[in-house]
Amino acid sequence: MNRRKLLSLLGMSPALLAGAELGAQQPKAAKSGKVPSAGNAQFEALNPKGSPPPVRLIPMAPRLNTIHGKTIYLVDTGFMSGGVLLQQMQIWFNKNYPDVTVVFRKKAGSYMEDDPPLWKEIKEKGNAAIMAIGH
């Protein structure tokens, strides 16, 4: 699903009515037309949805004009073989961007936990970060 569809799904774009329906469940043609005799009585029904919190937008950090001469942190969140993938990326950088310094770090704690000391180190010594997430 493209981003616009996904955002509308979440009700993020104010213009679109969301109701959180998914593309995969394409709205089937409402069974209009032949309506059973006793069934044409009209009813109202309440929306069962809860109240989602408003979203505080976070501006993205300004980009680098180039990665040459920069230091890039490769952060492994600890999922199985994630580190092996990033090591291959390190080899790629060494081959294709020899003047880019690559630092490999494993994030502490399980994959949902924060790691403030690591973020602090990246802010001080790094210019950019690539984080691997998944299975």
Partner: protein, 137 residues
Amino acid sequence: MGMNRRKLLSLIGMSPAILAGATAEAQSKAKNKNGRSGSAAEVKLTALNPRGIPPPITLIPMAPRLATLDGKTVYLVSDGFPGADHFLDQIANWFKKNMPNVTTVYRLKAGGFADDDPKLNAEIKEKGQAVIMAIGH
């Protein structure tokens, strides 16, 4: 499961007089709901009874009873469930103590507990006059 026999039989539509519709008494906490308000809710619908077609039941007359057990041979038959043999031993002991001239014969029915055992049935018909069969767990 405190239903008496009459209520149970009506449950499965056996007694012609009582219309059963397999209303399981235990489940039917007949809730009187028609008191609910709401104008559109008064619309009446007709819906089909979803039940299939139960087979008619052929009544089997019970075998005539014995005038007395004295001098008779009573077969004690287990369907094989664990503990049935021990239980029937106690029944045999009771007869030995209280009705000494009743002969008891213990037999384990062949096959799984739902299988028939024609060989045993034939033997009982030939040599026995009554049967006590243990079923359950």
